[in-house]
Symmetry: C2
Subunit: 447 residues, 2 copies
């Protein structure tokens, strides 16, 4: 495993009376050990399919082959929303050049630009459709059921555009990631003989990043999908077997659950000290909110619970949010993502040594400055009794982000046990969907 | 005024027992009227300078002229952090093409690409420095004091790069926005004879978007800075004079303050139903957190108060956060930003009429779908007793965003009165700054 963990700033030794007491965690140990045992049993019974995604050799080969068939294309547009967009976007921003889409094809290694069309904003969608010449573009439509209104709307525009501009060749510019058997998108693909990738039926959108949802874009971008799955698999084995005290998933679940339910800290801020990891926090934000934000528990009791995830970026948000984090209510816990080694080392030139606010920086590196800002912020928070957890990436690579995805998927499942809710459904969004169908005049939704 | 307001979903008629009672607001009326009277008096006494920014003809002319002198440049890189970056970034994303930086110079109308270098992430910063050829780039360094470590570090790299690559001509590629008299950046500009723009000393970073901080980039991008200031001025006059019941600033301040302090809703979600407005929510996020998150009130009493701002994007976050928003704890109030008329109308082609999840969309528009999603989400939230406020933009243009900026600056000042704290300082970030200086070996900070 490449990630490492430092939870010392979560405890009262560091964070004072707003820090945890170790005995609180020990108290949860039996429940968490039981939950892990259940997870192992469920996996063996063919359930909890997200745990098996790292070992799906079929999906791996199919995605690699599909990507191969589109080699040399200029643009990859992903039409999807929620879990069908956040995973690919997180992989892209973590592992590609920060200005990937601005580079020319050579500098991109012949790999496509990537756009995630994850909204039905007409100005934004039009801009993508105008910019991406259909002849040089592949559209990856991702929707398990095909019923998602936003993705359905984008598909209509895409199909029409491709047919009009490319005639019979339009089928060479689209690939749909959807349920292997059921759903309207599957049926449409069969009728139109469109290439498809299978989205495992038992895997929910927010747990799908290691399925073809994330794999196909990863291959298209020339990323090391194998290492990503390796990292994820390694993390799964570790968290399902290692003893409680060294188990990062069990510790994270216990700590974050306790802060929400017993320490009055329902706001869970994931603050990444690296721009490349910011969209991992966005991916986490869906996982956490949609899995744990529930009205009814497993006994049918109304509970209306769930922590609120917030994404933040260091050092940038030190100049935006940290005033509130340090002085405001004691209602937050922080999960820092830190990077030990960046791809570049950026030297700060020794200029203007006589100017006090510049001179001290000269001859050092921007890397050291960022690391110091992180360290200083974590200390300042702790001194003001604001607890935090730190997850360190030795470097941002395919393996470490694979580990990260699997880690938080397991933490989420474990938190589901602790909260005694179902972390895999999302009943709360139904009413809004039905109201939208009604307003759009879909048959059977007039009321 | 072009913005319009609908607060009906904030009240118990719509949102049930978690909605406000009108009498709660009436109760705050005397305090708010008094606060507005004080604001008028302070403005006349030359204080609250942010209220006067719309009328600063000198700044307007200087910025216009400065932008003129850089006409035809390919890239504008803003080196700034916090209020020195969030305002320009919000203006840019609201008013420029969604893929502005990807368009060629002609399609950009000869205007530069804009990059905001607002972090000291070495990979991210290096990418900008590699991508932007110094010969075709203008660097706008924004820092009131010049002491901000992140901006100071970026400046060192910029100065060194320019000097090495451009020799004596380096001065033609930089302009600094800083205090007119004091501070290390001002001194440096005088020594090096660099062009400068004045950042009014009495205006804090998060209230500076209508100063040269936002004006110069607006002119560089060919935007209608005049309309932006007009909108802001119009909003200021309206909110400082109109009666309480029709005063959007007073109403917003009262409602948001009450939800935080009396209705157990400390999480204030600004959810924009337009991609172009998402960074306005990011700008708001700093304004709200840094102004209202305070440990000590005006009587010196420890209070540790302040609502937590969260940014969200509709319809995208319906598939990420709305499950929690609808079913989770009753700890949130929503401020929706809605757009009545987008720049494009995107037709949904009438294809596959026989497929039930596609057919109903054909022949309609993406515009109508987004509007329906918004309306459905707001209704679904209200039916689950989740209150919300709506601010409608007739269209996203310079005037309406000018109104928005000024509106929330006044709301923030009024909330400062209600919370009885100083909304214009940020004492909480000092410890972190000193610790960073110490770690970086700055003289006098060793301890």
């Amino acid at each position: 495993m490449s990630l490492s963990f430092n939870f010392t700033h979560a405890f009262s030794d560091k964070a004072g009376e707003h820090g945890l007491e170790p005995r609180d965690i020990a108290y949860l140990k039996p429940r968490l050990l039981d939950a892990i045992k259940q997870m192992r049993a469920q996996r063996e019974a063919g359930k909890l399919e997200f745990l098996n995604l790292p070992y799906d050799a079929g999906a791996f080969a199919t995605c690699a082959q599909a990507a191969e068939s589109f080699a040399g294309v200029e643009n990859l547009v992903i039409a999807g929303i929620g879990g069908s967009a956040l995973g690919p976007a997180a992989i892209f921003s973590a592992l590609c050049h920060p200005l990937h889409n601005l580079l020319d094809a050579d500098a991109r290694g012949g790999r496509p630009r990537l756009f995630t069309l994850d909204n039905v904003d007409p100005d934004y969608a039009s801009a993508y459709f105008e910019f991406c010449d259909p002849r040089e573009t592949v559209f990856n439509i991702i929707s398990k059921s095909g019923a998602t209104a936003e993705t359905a709307a984008a598909s209509l525009v895409i199909f029409d555009l491709l047919k009009k501009r490319l005639g019979a060749k339009w089928r060479d510019h689209v690939i749909c990631t959807t349920d292997p058997k059921s759903g309207d998108l599957r049926k449409l693909c069969e009728r139109e003989k469109l290439p498809t990738l299978d989205l495992p039926p038992a895997v929910g959108g927010r747990f799908s990043v290691l399925s073809p949802v994330g794999l196909f874009p990863a291959f298209m971008l020339g990323l090391n999908a194998e290492a990503m799955l390796f990292g994820a698999g390694e993390m799964a084995e570790f968290c399902l077997s290692v003893e409680f005290e060294r188990n990062p998933a069990a510790q994270l679940a216990a700590i974050l659950y306790l802060f929400d339910t017993s320490y009055g800290k329902p706001i869970h801020v994931m603050m990444t000290y690296a721009n490349s990891l910011y969209l991992l926090a966005d991916w986490f934000r869906q996982l956490w909110a949609e899995s744990l934000g529930k009205a009814v528990n497993l006994d049918g009791k109304t509970v209306n619970l769930g922590p609120t995830p917030v994404k933040a970026l260091g050092a940038t948000d030190q100049h935006s949010q940290v005033q509130l984090y340090i002085e405001g209510p004691f209602d937050k816990v922080f999960v820092f993502l830190e990077v030990k080694e960046f791809r570049c080392e950026l030297k700060l030139p020794a200029l203007y040594g006589d100017v006090s606010s510049l001179g001290y920086l000269g001859g050092q590196t921007m890397n050291k400055l960022l690391a110091s800002e992180f360290s200083a912020t974590r200390e300042a928070l702790a001194k003001h009794q604001r607890p935090s957890l730190t997850i360190s990436f030795p470097r941002v690579d395919a393996r470490s982000i694979g580990e990260f995805f699997m880690l938080f998927e397991i933490v989420t499942a474990l938190c589901g046990h602790l909260y005694h809710i179902n972390p895999f459904d999302q009943p709360g969004v139904e009413l809004g969907k039905r109201l939208t169908y009604g307003l759009m005049g879909r048959k059977g939704y007039a009321k």
